[in-house]
């Protein structure tokens, strides 16, 4: 094995080059440029000549009331949709894993929402939850459970709940596929010896299945947390931040500041605050998982 010879290293380097170059140009460079932008005054009046203003953009973001609302909304969205998707996805994966036939069929059915367009399903959810929409028709006219139409989309938590439901519905399939793959890699012998020791299915799940797929759970947790913070399309399509920015999330607010009012400096600072939060959360998640690992 002469893998470390000079010739080989050059070859390996060359083969890695396209990937590294693409990563550098399309990921590293924009991040650095964004960091730089966040320290500049960059708005309508100074689109081409930017002056360095230190942390002023950060101060403006952190003291902005709408940012507080958007940040809390994003946090709630993540706290609800991440466990929601994971629990339902894992449940479905365990169920499908235990049936001998039709696994592929169910997998396809569960995965369908994942590959549908965000815009289209957002519009469909909007039609369902409209004040004059399908759900209200069902509740008032068919089942007669409610006297008047309920205004699902017109309040902060109503609008957000609809977006969260959409997020969970659309995300279960991805979790299912990831967890199903993990479940299939758990050694069958463990279950057999547990059965001999007299374990029921609940004990098997908590003492064998969960510990065995811990790394997959961490992977899903980190990916979904990032995904939760990146919620944009559903909110933009369903409420667009209405009423009065009450349903705004960090990305819709960033979009609004950058592309409606041209305040690029503010938007860049906002992006960085979100990125730092995400890195911090990911470190916390890794730490918590590691602690758990050491303990068990």
């Amino acid at each position: 094995m002469e893998l470390r010879s000079k010739r080989n290293r050059i070859q390996i380097g060359l083969l890695l080059l396209p990937g590294v170059a693409a990563f550098a140009i399309f990921t590293i460079y924009p991040i650095l440029k964004l960091l730089y932008m966040s320290f500049l005054q960059w708005d309508l009046g100074s689109m081409f000549e930017h002056s360095f203003i230190g942390f002023q953009n950060y101060a403006r973001v952190l003291s902005d009331e709408t940012f507080h609302i958007a940040f809390v909304n994003t946090l709630v969205y993540t706290l609800v949709t991440v466990p929601g998707q994971m629990v339902l996805g894992l449940l479905a994966a365990v169920l499908i894993n235990s049936i001998p036939r039709f696994r592929v069929t169910f997998r396809v059915i569960y995965y369908l929402p994942v590959i549908t367009s965000w815009v289209i399903v957002s519009l469909i959810f909007r039609y369902i939850f409209n004040t004059e929409g399908m759900l209200n028709y069902l509740l008032t006219n068919v089942l007669q459970l409610s006297e008047a139409n309920i205004r699902w989309l017109d309040t902060r938590w109503g609008g957000l709940s609809v977006a969260m439901m959409l997020g969970i519905w659309k995300g279960v399939g991805w979790n299912l596929v990831v967890f199903l793959a993990a479940l299939q890699s758990v050694p069958q012998e463990l279950y057999e010896s547990a059965a001999i020791d007299g374990c029921g299915s609940f004990s098997k799940f908590f003492y064998i299945t969960l510990p065995s797929i811990k790394s997959t759970i961490l992977f899903a947790l980190v990916m979904l947390t990032i995904g939760g913070f990146n919620v944009f399309t559903s909110i933009k399509m369903i409420t667009d931040g209405k009423p009065m920015h009450q349903t705004e999330v960090v990305l819709t607010w960033m979009y609004n500041k950058a592309f409606t009012t041209g305040d690029f400096g503010y938007a860049a600072a906002l992006s960085f605050i979100v990125a730092v939060t995400l890195v911090f959360l990911a470190i916390l998640q890794f730490k918590a998982m590691k602690k758990n690992n050491d303990a068990s």
Partner: protein, 440 residues
């Protein structure tokens, strides 16, 4: 083994080349560099009868891709322009209205703007502040001559701080659309004054035979475009005449009264349409759930497409104490300072010419060219009722911070109408904020 490695390296190199060749090509700005050298070349080469590659001019607009306007643009106007100016080729790109605004902001920061674009009149001051537009009256020798044949009121939308940065392209305003059957059934005459309108709204609101709620008045949003006709017709205002101060105007007694009227209508269940969960405007009107609304000339085509059997009438904006004052809409055409100015100017002159304006008038665009306005096409058009309203309509404040002001205005008015916040206190607070934005 060795062979495979070489092949892999070769493929990698090819991949790199392809990937980065794509990056180097900057489509929109390339034309401007070509353009500077092209005109002289074309004169010289004409003598030797060589075929010169035409210069491409990028034109961004927001005529909807499927619309009759876009058909006319692509199949009548551009071929005609290219025939008259063989040295140019037009690359027209259609965007959604809101996308075009955002796209221009992004392209400006990355210096990839097109040569010329059709802009909503409300965007001109903002783009002027960004320093991306060209002062036409200073740089184009024949500007006075060209603009003389365009409506002064429409041309005023292109003026910022004493210079013209855009030419008027088409104009519009909103008038009253009403459900003909509902008014006839209730025995109500078409409202001509604000008081008559309020009475009609009250009479038409309630429930229909299916037990569904019906609203007398609809507005699809609570932005400046939606609420200014009620404010202005009532004698109120957003700012002073110089657009420097809002306090005393935006929170003046007339503006407060106008907003209070709308809030009362909403509280009484007679006015809606701006909540996320409400029925969309055209559907609500076409299915008899919204009885009256203020809309522009494009609504005629929309209703004909979606609800061809629905009977509705139109009338001028009902007059308040200050008269019938609707909001002026429309588009301007402007060139960007990074583009091919000569070519862009030729295209702008063509688009505002008698010919182009009358062709566009045939598909519902209200012209700004005086000759085209006198034509039979315009006199017999479906939008004839709008022509009168345009003469009294007012433009939203032509200030660079309008997008931001509009956002604050929408939030404050929503707070008053939907949440029942105190009208005077909320508008006082808003006026102070707008003062700051105007001073920026």
């Amino acid at each position: 083994m060795k062979y495979t490695k070489k092949l892999a390296l070769l493929l990698t190199a090819a991949l790199l080349l392809v990937a980065f060749a794509g990056c180097s090509e900057k489509a929109p700005s390339s034309s401007s560099q070509q353009a500077e050298t092209q005109p002289e070349q074309s004169e010289e080469s004409a003598e030797v009868a060589e075929v010169v590659e035409p210069v491409t001019l990028n034109f961004w607009h927001h005529y909807s891709a499927q619309s009759a306007e876009n058909e006319t643009l692509m199949n009548v106007l551009i071929p005609k322009f290219e025939e008259e100016h063989p040295e140019y080729k037009i690359n027209a790109v259609s965007h959604e209205w809101a996308d075009l605004h955002d796209k221009i902001l992004i392209s400006a920061s990355s210096q990839t703007l097109p040569d010329v674009a059709r802009l909503d009149i409300a965007w001109v001051p903002e783009f002027q502040k960004m320093n991306i537009l060209v002062p036409l009256d200073q740089e184009m020798a024949d500007f006075a001559e060209v603009s003389a044949n365009l409506l002064p009121s429409a041309m005023s939308t292109g003026m910022v701080k004493g210079n013209y940065y855009a030419m008027a392209l088409n104009t519009n305003t909103k008038i009253l659309f009403y459900n003909e059957q509902a008014l006839a059934d209730a025995g109500i005459a078409v409202p001509k004054t604000m008081d008559e309108m309020l009475a009609a709204i009250a009479a038409l609101s309630g429930t229909n035979e299916n037990g569904q709620q019906v609203w007398g008045l609809n507005e699809p949003a609570l932005a400046g475009w939606n609420i200014t006709p009620y404010i202005w017709s009532n004698g109120g205002n957003i700012t002073n005449e110089d657009y420097t101060v809002a306090t005393g105007y935006l929170n003046g007694p007339e503006t407060v009264a106008a907003i209070k009227t709308l809030a009362d209508l909403y509280a009484a269940g007679q006015f809606t349409g701006f909540n996320s969960g409400d029925i969309p405007m055209t559907d609500g009107f076409g299915t008899g759930r919204y009885m009256m609304l203020l809309e522009g000339p494009w609504k005629t085509a929309e209703l004909a497409g979606a609800y061809p059997d629905f009977k509705y009438g139109t009338s001028e904006m009902p007059a308040g104490s200050a008269g019938s004052i609707s909001v002026l809409g429309g588009e301007d055409i402007a060139m960007f300072n990074t583009g091919n100015k000569e070519g862009a100017w030729e295209f702008m002159k063509f688009m505002t010419s008698d010919f182009a304006q009358e062709e566009m008038a045939k598909c519902g665009q209200i012209p700004v060219n005086k000759t085209a306005l006198e034509s039979d096409t315009v006199k017999n058009a479906a939008y004839a009722p709008f022509l009168e309203a345009i003469t009294t309509a007012k433009a939203r404040p032509p200030v660079a911070s309008w997008s931001e002001i509009d956002g604050e205005l929408t939030a404050a008015v929503t707070d008053i109408i939907v949440n029942g916040a105190d009208v005077q206190a909320t508008l006082d607070e808003l006026a102070a904020k707008v003062d700051e934005l105007l001073a920026k």
